[in-house]
């Protein structure tokens, strides 16, 4: 149970609630017994199908009943229907799971059933010859993108919805250009810099665009640094931003880039002298300089800077004191 406030009930309240619930429990258990005994008897009828609808509306987490429902479709209903009817049946199921998701946006089983429906949309309405063999599929998958955007409007951090979004984007019969996903994540980030889910997605999309040479890495990385600088200045305590910055820096082979970003962060630190994330990031990047570029940097000075910042961090962020101590100790031992 998550986020349900505790309420104190008197013995009378509890007794009254139990009386109220008594008939509901009996009804629910009778429906459950009916459905499970039909399942046991391999009843693949439309009646049974309708009973699973009723039961799943009360309890969308009843995974056994979702399984039974799919078996009814596969073994009982699909074989007797035309592709058009199958398409209609699945569209109805997609509508049903949409209603369920609005009430229960974090139930794995509902998302799972949605995927199954999508994957079982038949070919049609046209044929291979007239070129409209994937017409139904195309329509459904396109609609899914719209649906998932609605879900992410309601909760921009819902990881089920983000996973589903990636799944839809990867499986669409007619793929969308990845650059439009870049625009989408930017919209999400600009609506709220703290949306790490959107930053994460952006890192995945950029990685893919860079590795396929659809985007010039050096140029596009500069655009990202610009975006992140805004976010850093807007809320320097927001860890999503710093994590993304760390990803942008990458392995730290580029000494000039490291030094430039260190000075950008230093400037912010001068303005906000107790910014933990500025200090933490400077330490991290200076340690990379020492590790990767020891011949062309002043190791002694960098080591001293890091030690000073690490002792400041121990005071400023005592919960993670032991981590800072450990890093400081490892510098003393010498660069690795």
């Amino acid at each position: 149970m998550h986020g349900v406030k505790r309420t104190r009930q008197t013995a009378d309240d509890i007794a009254a609630k139990k009386r109220r619930e008594q008939s509901k429990i009996e009804e629910y258990l009778a429906l459950t017994r009916d459905v499970l005994s039909r399942k046991k008897a391999s009843d693949w009828s439309e009646d049974a199908f309708n009973l699973t609808t009723k039961l799943l509306q009360v309890n969308p987490e009843f995974y056994t009943v979702w399984n039974y429902r799919r078996n009814i479709l596969l073994r009982g209903l699909f074989p007797q229907r035309t592709p058009e009817d199958v398409n209609n049946l699945l569209s109805e199921d997609l509508a049903m799971t949409m209603t369920a998701l609005k009430a229960h946006p974090k139930v794995y089983w509902i998302w799972n059933h949605r995927r199954w429906c999508l994957e079982n949309i038949p070919n049609g309405p046209g044929s291979q010859e007239d070129g409209d063999v994937a017409g139904w599929k195309k329509k459904c998958w396109d609609r899914e993108l719209f649906v998932v955007e609605k879900m992410l409007d309601a909760d921009p951090r819902n990881f089920h919805a983000w996973n589903y979004r990636r799944y839809v984007l990867a499986g669409m019969p007619v793929p969308r250009p990845e650059t439009s996903e870049l625009a989408y994540t930017k919209r999400k980030i600009e609506a709220n810099f703290s949306n790490f889910s959107a930053w994460h997605q952006r890192s995945k999309v950029l990685t893919s665009l860079w590795s396929s040479d659809k985007l010039d890495k050096a140029k596009s990385r500069e655009v990202e640094f610009e975006l992140i600088r805004n976010a850093m200045y807007t809320d320097p305590d927001d860890q999503s931003v710093w994590m993304y910055h760390r990803w942008l820096i990458g392995s730290g082979d580029d000494q000039m880039l490291l030094e430039r970003e260190i000075s950008v962060i230093q400037e912010l630190l001068d303005e906000q002298p107790d910014s933990k994330w500025c200090m933490e990031s400077i330490v991290h990047y200076k340690l990379i300089l020492i590790r990767n570029h020891s011949r062309s940097v002043d190791v002694g000075k960098l080591t001293g800077d890091c030690s000073t910042l690490l002792s400041q961090l121990q005071r400023l962020d005592p919960s993670r004191r032991r981590r800072y101590e450990e890093i400081a100790k490892n510098i003393d031992v010498g660069p690795r």
Partner: protein, 327 residues
């Protein structure tokens, strides 16, 4: 607010869970029944009161969840076999020293049949896949002594592809890092002796940043704290020997503040309704933090450490030293 873990009250809370059959919510959660029994039993074991629930009755219930068609355990009699409930069944039977009741070869082939070409596991025949189920499979096979039948390379390969730049793991390839996945992926890698796949410094940095000013831990950056993350995060930290990277006292106080002082049980956060899920993961977190009087919990298997040690399965994790009870 209490600064002490109210063990007798939590024991009686767990004992009463099976008595709420006149409560609608009890019936609406039947799809989690076997998991709930595992959570309750493990919490009792950690609090040193394994005997508080009847052993025979529990074993009979577990066996009544056997799905003979699939060769695994469902969450409740007549429910379909699933990896989540199959692992719970195996864990309960091992804690109750009754594994001889299981048809091991059939369970093993049920588990192995769920591995996908990518290396991940589906939860059941309809194929939702997730690193949670991969962990269930690895843990169950290891507990059954049949890990040698697993394609380890393929399994590890999938976990590796779920690793993100922040050092964490997602539930599928491409997904955002989540504390729950840190537990399942790190624990699975520990069982497979492949912790080399973990970027320890980066992951432990990310994990330590889950602690919020009120002491509680969250599951992802910029999200709210929740008692259940105490276990997910601490488990991974203890497997990687970095529990010290968070403030143990503040986390202990946060967990204790989520207790219900009248009915027993622990909630997701202070003032919320309690449930057995947050009760076990709160108690488990306290055990790893060295809370006085608790029994050691193995963070890899989330079972009593002594049980895992007796099976020769202990890995090199490190919890905080158990503190003596202060008077």
């Amino acid at each position: 607010m209490s600064s002490k873990l109210l063990i007798p009250l939590h024991v009686s809370y767990i004992q009463k869970l099976g008595e709420s059959k006149d409560d609608l919510a009890y019936h609406l959660t039947s799809h989690l029944r076997l998991n709930a029994i595992y959570w309750g039993l493990t919490a009792l074991c950690v609090m040193g009161h394994q005997e508080a629930l009847d052993r025979e009755e529990m074993i009979e219930f577990v066996m009544s969840c056997w799905d003979d068609e699939a060769g695994g355990f469902g969450a409740h009699p007549e429910h379909d076999a699933h990896l989540l409930s199959t692992l719970s069944a195996i864990q309960i039977l091992i804690m109750q020293d009754a594994l001889d009741r299981v048809d091991v070869p059939r369970v093993v082939s049920f588990i192995l049949s769920l591995q996908q070409p990518s290396g991940v596991f589906a939860g059941d025949s309809f194929g939702e896949f997730d690193t949670r189920f991969l962990y269930c499979a690895v843990s169950a096979l290891s507990l059954l002594g049949r890990l040698d039948e697993l394609d380890k390379e393929k399994t590890v390969g999938y976990i590796e592809r779920c690793r993100n730049f922040d050092g964490g793991f997602g539930n599928v390839v491409g997904a955002e890092s989540h504390s729950g996945q840190a537990f399942v992926c790190v624990a699975a890698l520990a069982i497979l002796d492949r912790l080399d796949v973990v970027d320890t410094d980066t992951l432990c940095w990310w994990l330590s940043e889950r602690q919020l000013p009120n002491g509680g831990l969250n599951g992802r950056p910029e999200k709210l704290e929740d008692v259940c993350y105490s276990f997910w995060v601490l488990s991974a930290l203890s497997i990687l020997n970095k529990v010290e990277w968070i403030d143990a006292n503040k986390l202990s106080s946060f967990i204790l503040s989520a207790q219900d002082l009248e009915t027993g049980g622990i909630a997701d956060r202070p003032g919320d309704m309690v449930d057995v899920f947050h009760t076990i993961f709160g108690v488990a977190g306290l055990s790893i933090l060295g809370y006085p009087g608790l029994v050691d919990l193995d963070p890899v298997y989330c079972m009593p450490a002594a049980v895992i040690e007796a099976k020769g399965l202990r890995k090199g994790w490190k919890a905080l030293e158990r503190r003596p009870a202060d008077s």
